[in-house]
């Protein structure tokens, strides 16, 4: 009776279904070429490449992200020995020394999923001395592109928040009382998804009141606990914005436990995992904004272009999709 979830290889490898698409770069945005960067051309097939993952591969996003990088490397015929992957286990200092160690060991290209947007000074000092291009994925690093790093590929977290706000406004008919389940405190993702959501709500639906915000630590259990508490003390809540799918699923369990019916409280969340999209199909979740973790193809494509001398834009923002009641059923297969 156990529900056998997909194994990592299939969920990440489902490339055609949920491949990332870059939004066209804004005209006039800063870009970077190999010459400007000052590096030397290398052949990816024989190059040593380092990938630094930030958090344990213990949630769908991270699993899909790491897997996508590895799969794409394999697809390009890069020998497994040439791709060095490390995982910082959510310890920032470990990520810094992981990357420094990879630089020492002679990697020629770095793909980094940073745990934090700031604090990369020492890495940049080391990498730029050796002219190693750095592609950061999923989270941006606050630094100078083309000198400190090459480019950022990822979602616009603030925009995700804004889009979630639009969905929430639509679900609530522009009025009501909303609770926010914040991500882990101090995390850039939390900060941006909160800012985007609040700003947009203020803009499009000023009658929606944000009456509660507490951290659910991006975890299902905490999400559930906090929702239980809040349903108790704020019985007038009719919308919950969860900053990731896990907390949304926790909130779903809490709603069931509190005897609420489907749709009594509208849930909007961000990520696009299978579980959450299934939640839309089941009628507990109103909408999910995707945050696509399949960085492999785009990252390697960008690197190839770069070494071929093409200009690379400062930011490569991917077009995240969204799931709602209309699309959830058909798109369930492409969720990760």
């Amino acid at each position: 009776k156990s529900e056998d979830s997909d194994t990592p290889s299939t969920s990440g490898g489902n490339a055609s279904a949920g491949a990332q698409v870059a939004e066209s770069a804004a005209p006039g945005a800063k870009s970077c070429t190999l010459d400007q960067f000052g590096g030397t051309k290398i052949d990816l097939k024989t190059a040593k490449i380092g990938f630094s993952q930030s958090e344990k591969e213990a949630n769908p996003f991270r699993i899909a992200e790491t897997q996508s990088i590895k799969d794409e490397a394999a697809k390009l015929g890069i020998p497994a020995a040439n791709l060095q992957a490390t995982n910082a286990n959510s310890q920032f200092n470990k990520q810094i020394s992981d990357v420094e160690q990879m630089i020492d060991s002679g990697v020629q290209l770095l793909v980094i999923a940073p745990l934090n947007s700031d604090g990369w000074d020492s890495v940049f000092a080391k990498a730029s001395a050796k002219k190693i291009p750095i592609i950061t994925i999923d989270r941006k690093i606050n630094a100078d592109s083309c000198t400190d790093y090459l480019t950022f590929i990822g979602s616009d977290f603030e925009k995700q928040g804004q889009r979630a706000a639009d969905k929430m406004a639509a679900a609530l008919g522009n009025k009501g009382s909303v609770a926010i389940l914040l991500g882990a405190p101090g995390n850039n993702v939390t900060t941006l998804r909160t800012k985007g959501f609040k700003d947009q709500i203020a803009k499009v639906a000023p009658e929606i009141k944000i009456s509660f915000e507490q951290t659910g630590q991006f975890s299902r259990e905490e999400g559930q606990k906090v929702t239980e508490q809040l349903l108790q003390s704020n019985s007038d809540i009719n919308g919950i914005y969860a900053e990731n799918d896990e907390m949304a699923l926790g909130a779903e369990v809490a709603l069931k436990g509190a005897g609420k019916a489907k749709g009594d409280v509208k849930i909007v969340s961000i990520d696009g995992t299978k579980g959450a999209v299934q939640g839309i199909v089941d009628g507990w979740i109103s909408a999910v904004i995707e945050s696509n973790p399949r960085f492999g193809p785009l990252a390697f494509e960008t690197a190839t272009k770069f070494f071929n001398g093409e200009p690379i834009p400062e930011d490569i923002i991917i077009a995240d999709r969204e799931y709602d009641e209309a699309s959830a059923k058909t798109d369930l297969g492409s969720a990760y």
Binding site: A58, P185, G186
Partner: protein, 332 residues
């Protein structure tokens, strides 16, 4: 006074050469294990051997080493300090914040703040006889709360505004980062302090037997307060040099750091019951943890969960080996 009686053999335990050797290995057990591990790593991984890699290991070990140094003093008095991880983050955040006023404030403000928390820890422990474990557990929460309060719930990362401070963090001399040199100096001072001063002797005495120490005229309370202040200061300093290195006051650090420090200290042969331990051992313990981490990365592509299993197993093996060495020593 004249000799009153003919000397007799009071030494019930005849000391033997084998005893001494075991004794040496026990005292420097962590160092021995470190040497073995380094040799294995160097043989197995070509990349491990590089000078740069050594520099990377050292610079990464610098903040944990400072924290473990403070922890060594605390543990030798028979206490424990769980607040260091939080103080480390707090120190980094205020250091980055204060760096806009210059190099010295960036260094001194975190010292002052973390030292102050150390004073509170020390005073509560020394004067109210509350258990160190619980006092510093509260401080762990309190300092983290304070850090979050100062950084807008952790969402504001202050950038280091002082170029001098920044280059102190990233620059190097002879290929070894400045922070490592600083830590080396602090360690030498710590060693001298612990083994060659009256204060150091009183640290051992308090840990060996608090009652006896107090009857022998050791200022037990002052010693205790001092070690917790030192631990706080060193955690703050670790935070500051880390901020200099990272160029910002990162708020998402430090969880579990206290346990790493305790592990390093214990691997280094310091008794958690107090009264015995060395700083050389602690250095070996810190480096051992760093080298293991580095080795796991050298293997490449070890899934994160296996990394933890390996670290845990390794920890168990080292500590069990240490304990058997001690037992061996006792038996002879």
């Amino acid at each position: 006074m004249t000799t009153l009686v003919a000397p007799v053999e009071n030494d019930v335990r005849r000391s033997e050469r084998s005893d001494r050797i075991v004794d040496l290995v026990q005292r420097q057990g962590a160092l021995a294990v470190l040497v073995v591990v380094v040799i294995i790593a160097a043989a197995a991984f070509p990349n491990f051997r590089g000078y740069d890699n050594a520099g990377t290991i050292l610079i990464a070990a610098a903040p944990p080493a400072l924290i473990a140094l403070g922890m060594t003093f605390v543990i030798i008095t028979g206490g424990i300090d769980l607040s260091v991880g939080s103080l480390y983050v707090l120190g980094g955040v205020v250091s980055a914040y204060a760096s806009k006023w210059g190099f010295l404030p960036a260094l001194l403000v975190p010292l002052a703040l973390c030292g102050l928390v150390g004073v509170v820890n020390g005073v509560l422990i020394a004067y109210t006889r509350m258990a160190p474990f619980i006092v510093t557990l509260a401080a762990l929460l309190g300092a983290r709360g304070l850090m979050r309060a100062l950084s807008n719930e952790g969402s504001t990362t202050y950038l280091v505004g002082n170029d001098g401070f920044r280059s102190f963090g990233t620059g190097s001399f002879l290929g070894i980062g400045y922070p490592v040199w600083l830590v080396a100096v602090v360690f030498v001072l710590g060693m001298v302090l612990l083994s060659r001063t009256r204060f150091g002797r009183s640290v051992y005495a308090v840990g060996g037997s608090e009652d006896a120490a107090s009857l022998m005229g050791v200022a037990v309370r002052r010693t205790k307060v001092t070690v917790y202040v030192m631990s706080g200061l060193l955690a703050g300093l670790a935070g500051a040099i880390n901020a200099a290195k990272l160029g910002s006051g990162v708020t998402v650090l430090g969880t579990g750091m206290e346990l790493d420090a305790i592990a390093a200290v214990v691997i280094g042969g310091t008794l958690l019951t107090g009264g015995a331990g060395t700083i050389a051992g602690t250095i070996a313990g810190v480096l051992l943890l760093g080298v293991i981490q580095n080795m796991i990365n050298q293997v490449g592509n070890v899934p994160s969960s296996y990394q933890q299993v390996i670290s845990g197993a390794f920890l168990a093996v080292v500590v069990v080996a240490q304990t058997y060495l001690v037992k061996l020593r006792r038996r002879t």
